[in-house]
């Protein structure tokens, strides 16, 4: 009997899902395609001319033609990100942006008392947004969303819902 209980306990432990974030609560997107990460990577390679780091994030999902993901980030003490300074550095990369022929813009938005920087990159009608939260206790959440023009409004809605669900 003891052996059975032990086995059940171990199974339960293994069956427990790891939280999506160790530093905040966050809701995964709704209506996600039931596909593996490998399939998402393959989907991006097959459907997008340019790759993005979104597919490599710890939690990545496919919702129709949209790839969206996020993960925690950590910073050493005293290395907090200043989103305003970061915005300046991003938009300041003028020659790199010119060389890549991307259109870039940066927004700083605030949800649940947390500021997020959203870098919006458009290249050949392919859209890639990156977001990063301000640092809270040396940690934060970063992520990205990848889509084509046809999915613009859908992607905006998904990103909006995701950011609004993050609570530190």
């Amino acid at each position: 009997m003891k052996t059975i209980i032990s086995i059940l306990s171990i199974l339960l432990i293994f069956n427990q899902q790891e939280p999506l974030s160790k530093i905040a609560t966050i809701k995964a997107p709704q209506n996600i395609d039931k596909v593996s990460t490998a399939q998402i990577v393959a989907y991006e390679k097959a459907n997008f001319k340019y790759l993005s780091s979104t597919r490599n994030l710890k939690h990545v999902y496919k919702v129709g033609g949209v790839i969206i993901g996020f993960e925690d980030y950590n910073r050493p003490a005293g290395y907090d990100i200043s989103l305003e300074d970061y915005k300046e550095r991003i938009l300041g990369e003028v020659e790199q942006i010119e060389r890549r022929k991307t259109k870039e813009s940066v927004d700083i938005v605030s949800f649940n008392n947390t500021k997020f920087l959203i870098r919006k990159v458009v290249r050949d009608e392919e859209y890639c947004y990156y977001f990063v939260s301000e640092t809270k206790k040396n940690s934060g959440i970063k992520g990205g969303i990848r889509f084509k023009k046809a999915d613009l409004s859908k992607a905006h809605k998904l990103l909006d819902e995701l950011l609004k669900s993050i609570k530190f």
Binding site: L51, S52, S53, N56, Y73, R75, P76, G78, Y79, D80, I81, S82, D85, Y86, E88, R89, I90, L91, G92, E93, V94, E95, Q96, E98, R99, R100, L117, I118, R119, V121, Y130, F131, V132, G140, K142
Partner: protein, 542 residues
């Protein structure tokens, strides 16, 4: 002399007319005289003015007026009396400004009230708006200036000194020039004697360090002063506060005002000379804070390029803005190589290089900052961390300049596309100078050693500062215009097409920043200059 041929006389007459016409176009213009190319330039100045009016309005500070019909103070430009001129680094338009309620400060050495003299000086004073355009950056700036003559000088010119302009002051001009923002906020005052600046000062009604004084100083210097409100230890001549500002005397001022019922619109119906009634508003005891103008050097030349004579501000004689004072990049070369060869720095740069050359299809930038344990050449580095860009590009790490966090003497980050440092990559060196100055520690060390490194797979770039005053001037330009506009101007260098890496940088910053490059996996940094073909090439250091 008898002129033998009527054609000779006619020719002389034509040349004479042409000469005077050119003189007039270059200096004073009337609406009817606006011709190309000045017409285009002046249109730009006017556009700038009306955009400013649209966003900031025309209101000026108001005071209680005797005439009930004047409710608000408005400012109007008299374009037909505008003066156009050019300095080494910019062009400017000096436009008379009239108000519904104008006022000026009459400086006195004692409390004694001499109403007739005050009124005479006040009537001889006038306001001008200076709209300045930097030739290189294309950036506009503006300041209001009140010309306040000394009574003897005024009388010598029969109570009319309006022929003076910032770049053409009488050699015996004596009096004051008060600089203000468009909203009327005081910036600073220059005392002039025989056409030369003898004192630059601020004044407040208090001997204490007031919020107003701090605001005035910071507004003028465009740099955090580090001043805190509070009582001064003592009020002594040369009692230095900070940033080269000290109490230099106690003076008395009469604030004179006048209400003008028929001011406006621009080029007003009264021909730009509204009928006004002057009267004394108040007499005040003021504390005068002099500015030695040395720290930061020539800070008053902001937005005007290197030429300290722009705006007519002038700089103290001991402020050296001579380009020849700029550091020789060859003299710095050994230090750049030694720095890059330092074990801590080379390890980090190699690690950064690995982030590019290993599989990085996502084009993520990485970077780090170099923090010394102490602000001296013998110091070792604190441990540093390589961070990635949370949103692709690298985000800079927080600047430190204290004993616990360290002294950030440089940073290094990757450029996957191989480009030279961007404007934003180097401007932080100027921005951070304010923190260093406020700390009061290692200021010269910072200026002599701060650098920015960019790691690429085609070799690394290093930037150092060779002329701080000029760099600070450019930083003020950068800070005071939108990033989008600054970037657009930067990309326009070279005709708006892709340029070889480093070409735009040298074209834009080469006069005051040194750019070095080393071959991949080496530290053999060579200073670069812009070659005759428009590409960077090594400077031959013998």
């Amino acid at each position: 002399m008898k002129i033998k041929s009527p054609y000779i006389g006619l020719t002389i007459l034509c040349f004479t007319i042409l000469f005077y016409a050119c003189e007039k176009m270059n200096n004073l213009y009337e609406e009817s005289d606006i011709q190309k190319p000045q017409a285009t330039e002046i249109t730009l100045f006017k556009d700038y003015f009306y955009q400013m009016v649209k966003s900031e309005g025309r209101r000026g500070p108001s005071f209680t007026v005797k005439s009930a019909s004047i409710q608000v103070n408005q400012k109007y430009a008299i374009w037909k009396k505008a003066y156009y001129s050019e300095t080494k680094n910019g062009t400017f338009l000096e436009v008379p400004i009239v108000y519904n309620q104008r006022f000026a400060t009459i400086f006195k050495k004692n409390k004694k009230d001499d109403k007739s003299i005050n009124e005479e000086i006040f009537k001889g004073s006038f306001d001008r708006l200076i709209i300045y355009k930097n030739k290189i950056s294309g950036v506009f700036d503006r300041k209001l200036i009140t010309y306040i003559p000394d009574i003897n000088y005024l009388r010598k010119y029969h109570n009319d000194i309006s022929h003076n302009h910032l770049d053409k002051l009488d050699s015996d001009f004596t009096g004051f020039l008060e600089y203000k923002n468009w909203d009327g906020t005081k910036l600073f005052t220059l005392q002039k004697e025989n056409g030369k600046t003898v004192k630059k000062f601020y004044y407040t009604a208090s001997g204490n360090i007031s919020a107003e004084l701090i605001s005035t100083i910071e507004n003028n210097r465009k740099i955090s002063s580090g001043l805190k409100e509070g009582k001064l230890m003592s009020i002594n001549i040369k009692d230095k506060l900070t940033m080269g500002v000290y109490i230099c005397g106690v003076d008395y001022v009469d604030i004179m005002g006048e209400s003008c019922i028929d001011a406006g619109p621009d080029d007003g119906s009264s021909g730009g000379s509204p009928v006004c009634t002057p009267y004394l508003i108040s007499t005040e005891t003021v504390y005068t804070y002099c500015d030695d103008g040395n720290d930061p050097p020539c800070s008053t030349c902001d937005l005007t390029g290197n030429d300290c004579l722009d705006y007519g501000i002038g700089c103290p004689e001991n402020t050296n803005n001579d380009p020849s004072s700029a550091e020789d990049p060859c003299a710095r070369k050994g230090k750049v190589i030694a720095n890059a060869s330092d074990t801590t720095i080379s390890k980090k740069n190699n690690a950064l290089n690995t982030t590019i050359t290993t599989n990085n299809p996502d084009e993520i930038e990485y970077g780090t900052q170099f923090d010394l344990n102490s602000p001296d050449a013998a110091s070792s580095y604190k441990p540093s961390y390589i961070t990635s860009g949370g949103a692709g590009w690298w985000e800079s790490q927080p600047f430190h300049w204290d004993s616990s966090s360290g002294y950030s003497i440089g940073e290094s980050h990757t450029h996957i596309d191989g480009m030279a440092p961007s404007p934003a990559d180097v401007m932080h060196m100027a921005k951070n100078l304010a923190t260093v100055v406020n700390s009061g520690v290692g200021i010269e060390f910072y200026k002599a050693n701060v650098s920015t490194t960019v790691v690429t797979q085609w070799g690394n770039w290093v930037v150092t500062v060779k002329d701080w005053p000029a760099f600070i001037t450019e930083y003020n330009v950068y800070k005071n215009m939108s990033l989008a506009d600054y970037n657009a101007n930067y990309l326009a260098i070279g005709g708006g097409t892709n340029q070889p890496p480093g070409a735009r940088f040298l074209s834009k910053f080469g006069a005051y920043l040194s750019l070095y490059k080393a071959d991949p996996n080496t530290t053999n940094f060579q200073p670069l200059k812009l070659g005759s073909n428009g590409s960077p090439e090594p400077i031959s250091c013998n």
